[in-house]
């Protein structure tokens, strides 16, 4: 039960980190920052790694918006308006996309519960470590007398 509680606590600690990663930014940004957080939809890679003609136009679009003084979140919203949600490297935390964050955590918790239940059941069904050994009786009175005689012959 203690181990299970630790696992649940670890999963709960992951949630704030996920929420912080998607926290909107109102600060000025750079092309490099945006490139690390959006995709080239045609290439299927991060924009920063893409070299296609479409990626070139997408970068030019981002640079134009940066020059206009748009914030990172405004630029990402503009890219989503052009290319759809798939342009974001990380799913946004709303609607169906939130499942990308929730499903792994839920799966982890369910797996931990199943594992704990399986271990508990196994330990109950197998019992104590010596349950399967036959009971051993101590030496008889005659055997004790003979043992004492043998031990008496040695100067221990």
């Amino acid at each position: 039960m203690a181990a299970f509680a630790v696992l649940v606590a670890l999963a709960a600690l992951m949630l704030p980190a996920v929420a912080a990663a998607d926290a909107p930014s109102s600060m000025r940004t750079t092309l490099n920052e945006i490139e690390e957080e959006v995709m080239c939809p045609v290439c299927g890679t991060l924009l920063g790694l893409a070299e296609s003609p479409q990626a070139t136009r997408e970068k030019a679009f981002v640079e134009k918006l940066i020059k206009e003084g748009k914030t990172k979140s405004q630029i990402k919203d503009a890219l989503v308006a052009q290319y759809g949600d798939a342009v974001l490297a990380e799913p946004n935390g709303s609607g169906f996309s939130i499942s990308a964050y929730v499903v792994p955590i839920v799966a982890f918790i369910v797996a931990a519960i199943l594992l704990a239940a399986a271990v508990w059941k196994w330990r109950r069904s197998s019992g104590g470590p010596d349950d399967h050994l036959p009971a051993v009786e101590g030496p008889s009175a005659e055997d004790r007398r003979r043992l004492d005689e043998d031990l008496g012959r040695y100067d221990l």
Binding site: Q54, A81, V87, A118
Partner: protein, 176 residues
């Protein structure tokens, strides 16, 4: 033992389901001749409002998937506009779908090549995926009932349009 078997079966089913989901989401196969073409509502590229291929039912439609960043698309644009000028009317039209492109770039492209046929904007490329496109440009000829009659992956030119598309179209005398 029974619970372990159930867990093992559930894990196997989950793995198979994930594999199937991955295969399905990877993309559709190309639209087959005779199949009904998808016709979602898309924003118009060069004017306000939205449009759909359904609006052109009753006409032959040459659906041209293109993008402003696509060099072969620039090569074929004059031929498509010329074809529209020669055959466009009551029985035929070209419809251009600007896919995975910045709408301003698409609009500039349309002005640069004096494109007169209807243009729609498919920013996320989903409509193209439903046709089974794997890139741009690609061209699909739809019958008046919306079913696919002919398709080619890659650019078209005046010769391809004359030899492969024109035979499908009704004679121009029938338009009057």
């Amino acid at each position: 033992m029974r619970i372990r078997s159930i867990i093992a079966i559930l894990v196997a089913v989950a793995i198979v389901a994930l594999l199937v989901f991955g295969l399905i989401s990877k993309g559709n196969s190309r639209l087959a001749v005779g199949a009904a073409a998808p016709s979602p509502t898309l924003p118009k590229l060069d004017e306000p409002g939205s449009g759909s291929l359904k609006e052109y039912r009753g006409k032959w439609v040459l659906v041209n998937f293109w993008a402003s960043w696509c060099i072969p698309c620039r090569d074929e644009a004059p031929a498509l506009e010329q074809f529209q000028q020669e055959h466009g009317g009551k029985t035929f039209t070209v419809v251009g779908i600007d896919t995975q492109d910045i709408s301003d770039d698409g609009t500039k492209f349309a002005h640069e090549y004096d494109i007169s046929y209807p243009l729609l904007h498919d920013g996320n490329g989903d409509n193209g995926h439903e046709f089974g496109t794997t890139g741009v440009p690609e061209n699909y000829l739809l019958e008046p009932n919306g079913r696919l009659a002919w398709a080619v992956a890659g650019p078209v030119d005046a010769r391809i349009l004359r030899e492969q598309v024109t035979p499908f179209l009704p004679p121009k005398s029938k338009e009057s």
